[in-house]
Subunit: 225 residues, 2 copies
């Protein structure tokens, strides 16, 4: 990424490795003072925000290599909570230290901008998903997203375990649990995938991609010409 060996070492110096966290542990809770960004090394984390009605909205599932906490820089306070879904190794990066570093390493600063920008782009994708896609397309998009992100980390893109519950998936996708469950069944019946409890095998990636990308008709709402 345009960083010298020395730069990498300086960055490495400020990263804290914590002992493994376990299912249910919090990285932070909404309202906490913002101090650090977190990077998932292994395992997975979900972030979620309280909704005024007392429920919560799952904002994302974070897999190895992904960063958590960028939304808290603005207010210097976390607006969402982060909860570990399975035994996980997480790195902590004190933001103040990082900021000092990015001041003196232009290419690191650029990476930070890119990282923040990428997060915005990802949120944009979710807006499109929630605003324009039907249940089927949402679940297909979700599965493909997991698949692609795992693949990027060198894991199998078609055979993996879900660390989150159906309930959490539904919450994330703006669907009821029952709908998620029914879709899993349907996808399986259609030969797109095999589901056994948390174990997922994607049998027909191209078909799933077709579901997400432009076939179907979304919610058909607001037919834009």
């Amino acid at each position: 990424m345009g960083l010298t060996q020395e730069d990498v070492e300086r960055l490495d110096d400020i990263v804290k490795r914590t002992r493994p966290l376990h299912r249910g542990d919090f990285l932070f809770r909404d309202g906490d003072r913002f101090r650090s960004l977190y990077v998932v090394k292994t395992g997975s984390v979900k972030t979620f925000a309280p909704s005024p009605e007392g429920g919560e909205q799952v904002l994302g599932f974070h897999l190895p290599g992904e960063i958590i906490g960028l939304d808290a820089i603005d207010k210097d306070e976390h607006a969402c909570s982060a909860k570990v879904l399975e035994t996980s190794a997480i790195c902590e990066i004190p933001f103040q230290r990082l900021e000092e570093l990015t001041c003196s390493i232009p290419s690191l600063q650029h990476q930070m901008y890119r990282l923040l920008s990428k997060e915005i782009g990802h949120d944009t994708d979710m807006l499109l998903l929630l605003g324009k896609k039907n249940a089927e397309e949402r679940l297909a998009a979700f599965l493909l997203s997991l698949s692609q992100r795992l693949h990027k980390r060198g894991l199998s893109p078609s055979d993996f375990y879900l660390s989150m519950s159906r309930h959490e998936i539904g919450n994330y996708l703006g669907l009821a649990v029952e709908t998620v469950s029914r879709l899993f069944t349907r996808f399986q019946d259609d030969g797109l995938m095999r589901v056994d409890r948390k174990h997922i095998e994607l049998l027909d990636l191209p078909a799933l991609e077709a579901l997400v990308g432009g076939n179907g008709q979304g919610r058909r709402q607001n037919q834009q010409r």
Copy 2:
């Protein structure tokens, strides 16, 4: 914001003022190479992304003081288009120049991080809106958002003109035009507001806030305990 007079001048130096743009003009289109950020001085702009089905998703409406283009830093390419809704004055900030500047002015760098982070926070709010709120709550939230943002700029929080069509509002909120129209009528009948074409008068801000925040029951879906 912790900037010295001199800092401000240096920032000011790289900002380009363009002649006023008119309804329908594009600041950029999706796919365009990313060069600059844009700040609305007067007027308004909408950003929207193509959806695979051929439609589009309105991502936001940008009022004076708001910045556009942050999502393009990552890929160095715009993923959405920005279209001017009414005669508007827009400033252009070449990003490369800005980046050089933020390297040498730590407090400016911090502001940039905050700006990017704030954008993420805003998207998060929209996710909650699209994922958990019903039509009524969405429109109320939309009106209040406009109200608050205009107020922040010293304009009336309760009397303003919409520069976007009902269609665009619906698209943005994930609702059909007809629903938006019906809700305007309903809100008016309930004495919450007065609507005449594009002219909006909010008569009962507290009631609108109550609609958004925690009364009602959202989509009641996924009742989180």
